[in-house]
């Protein structure tokens, strides 16, 4: 069902190699770059064809507003109000009148057009440096019309990449657990949506408890924990075909699954006789390997992006702390030494940081530390929150937070939130229902 990989017919019109505008994403950006997103121009014939096919009155405007929303939520850009635009979209795309865009304080301008060609959607767009009066990038591609939201995300990614020098994270999806009902009988379903909350789909019916879904970084597979038949086990789900299977043949609870960075193994915990240890299973030859062997709880394993190390959570010191070890289980080292308890370590896709949940004096924090445990930074504090997951470019963390709805502690809501690695730009991600355990996919296209 999902998703014909977008075919990018790249007509790369030469890109100027010298940097014009640059956006620094390594610091909290308190002064987002003013950018004008001119609606994609569209001729009347194409507009009508899209209206018929997609039930959208003006697909050019729709795609532009996706781009605007993405750029705005990144916190790095400030899309300007369209009402101030002086130049019509079609003319701006040919040759912007830079003085007009300068007048409304735009530093970057995005223009483009969209056509209906042979039942396909063809889009072209340009990024302009207003102050330098130069084109920074031009790109065109063709896809099936139903992919129109992804077109907006791909444009956003290209603009983000051109202006920040790093890959974007907009053409991605989030798998999560949709929740409803009272706390004592919570109903949980697997759900998937685009990174901006659109195209939500439920993948399970809620008949059994499901927890902690995680994407395979290389394919459309998901691993998660299901209580199917009251046997908590790690499952593998193909979201294209809907087929699922139990991972391994363990005589007890398996949980806390994640994929290896090459997508070929699942790493997880297996609990037996009050002890939880870490195991891997190779998805090709089904060989199971035991990685830790300790009378403590060892769980929440996560590989480094090169696959050589594993970070995990253990209470072998007496309380929950974060450890790292080589991927064969040797050289175990504790890396968290601050006050409080530490859980849910997740290695950044950039390799340099580990994100975690910290519990201290009744508060929950999402934070990051270097892989040697130094440089701990707490990004956000709240009554209850946990389970950070990295954006594929390692710049944003998504997590979930529960909030009490009255002061007696009765009633609560669970929502997804994201925050930049800088500690700025915390925002709630809209979901149809209550939500928890988010996991961010890799970029769907590159």
């Amino acid at each position: 069902m999902i998703k014909k990989i977008i075919t990018l017919f790249l007509i790369l019109i030469p890109i100027n190699s010298y940097a014009l505008i640059e956006v620094d994403i390594t610091r909290g950006n308190l002064d987002p770059l003013p950018v004008a997103v001119s609606p994609l121009s569209i001729d009347e014939k194409s507009r009508k064809s899209f209206e018929k096919a997609l039930k959208k009155k003006n697909i050019g405007e729709e795609i532009s507003s996706i781009v605007e929303n993405n750029l705005s939520t990144s916190g790095l850009f400030n899309p300007l109000s369209k009402e101030a635009f002086l130049q019509a979209p079609d003319i701006a795309n040919l040759k912007p009148r830079f003085e007009d865009w300068n007048l409304i304080k735009a530093q970057a301008l995005i223009t483009g057009k969209v056509n209906y060609v042979d039942d396909k959607l063809r889009v072209e767009f340009r990024l302009w440096d207003v102050l330098a009066a130069k084109e920074m990038m031009a790109l065109a591609f063709t896809t099936v019309p139903s992919n129109w939201r992804r077109v907006g995300h791909i444009i956003s990614d290209k603009v983000y990449e051109r202006l920040t020098g790093e890959k974007g994270y907009f053409d991605t999806r989030i798998i999560y657990v949709a929740e409803e009902g009272p706390k004592t009988q919570r109903i949980k379903k697997l759900a998937i949506m685009d990174q901006d909350g659109f195209n939500n789909k439920f993948l399970t019916l809620g008949n059994e408890l499901v927890l902690t879904p995680r994407f395979n970084p290389t394919s459309q597979m998901v691993t998660y924990l299901s209580y199917f038949k009251n046997l908590p086990r790690v499952y593998l789900l193909d979201i294209e075909t809907g087929t699922q299977e139990v991972v391994g043949d363990f005589p007890g609870m398996t949980f806390a699954p994640r994929f290896s960075p090459d997508g070929k193994k699942i790493i997880m915990s297996f609990a037996k006789d009050g002890k939880s240890d870490i195991y891997t299973m190779d998805l090709e030859n089904r060989i199971v390997e035991r990685i830790t062997n300790h009378p403590s709880i060892d769980t929440s394993p996560s590989y480094s992006p090169d696959g050589k190390y594993i970070t995990f959570n253990s209470d072998r010191s007496g309380y929950q702390q974060i450890y790292i070890m080589k991927s064969d289980g040797s050289d175990v080292k504790r890396i968290s030494f601050g006050n409080g308890l530490y859980g849910t370590p997740v290695w950044s896709p950039r390799g340099d940081l580990i994100a975690f949940t910290k519990l201290h004096k009744g508060k929950f924090y999402i934070g990051v530390m270097r892989t040697d445990g130094k440089g701990e930074r707490l990004l956000t504090e709240n009554y209850y929150q946990e389970a950070p997951s990295w954006s594929p470019n390692g710049r944003v963390l998504i997590f979930y937070r529960e909030t009490k709805t009255d002061d007696k502690g009765k009633g609560f809501t669970a929502k997804l939130w994201s925050i930049d690695l800088t500690g700025y730009n915390e925002r709630r991600i809209k979901t149809l229902t209550d939500a928890s355990d988010p996991s961010w996919s890799s970029l769907l296209s590159n």
Binding site: M253, G274, I297, G343
Partner: protein, 163 residues
């Protein structure tokens, strides 16, 4: 001898006074959870069901702990006696944690708590074949409140008839 006994009694009275006065100063908190928590282990009977007369179905734990208290061991001895009497009955031990912890760690902790109960039942002659362990972590609280008393009721291992 007699004098020492008197002295001992006096000491007891003295201790009682200290305890009482301590209670008096913390009255507001104490009235809420009076008599239902020891340390942070739940000792009340709210939420407790009975497998048979005098056989409570659950035991409670301190935060982050899986150690059985004296009261828990007493409950489990009663369960073991009941299981010996009813040799056809098998049980599932459902281990739970409170919400103040990360999900995955709590799954492991629930498993560890249920196993603490299982081990104790086995030392009282119950075969491991008759016991299944199932951890729910923090997924199935019995009390939906977010306060120390609610959490104490949720840190539990519940013995459920499997057949």
């Amino acid at each position: 001898m007699k004098i020492s006994k008197i002295f001992k009694n006096a000491l007891l009275v003295l201790t009682a006074c200290v305890v009482l006065s301590a209670c008096a100063t913390k009255k507001e908190i104490a009235t809420d959870i009076q008599g239902s928590m020891q340390g942070d282990v739940y000792t009340g009977t709210d939420t407790v069901e009975y497998l048979a007369e005098g056989v409570p179905d659950r035991v409670f734990f301190a935060t982050n702990e899986s150690i059985l208290t004296t009261a828990s061991r007493e409950t489990l001895r009663a369960q073991a006696a009941w299981m010996r009497k009813n040799s056809s009955i098998n049980v599932v031990l459902e281990g739970h944690a409170d919400e103040r912890g990360t999900r995955e760690y709590n799954l492991a902790l629930g498993e560890r708590r249920a196993n603490a109960a299982k081990d104790y039942l086995m030392t009282y002659g119950i075969s491991s074949d008759r016991i299944t362990v199932l951890s729910y972590g923090k997924e199935r609280p019995v009390d939906s409140g977010s306060n120390p008393l609610s959490w104490s009721k949720n840190r539990r291992s519940v013995t459920v008839k499997a057949n």
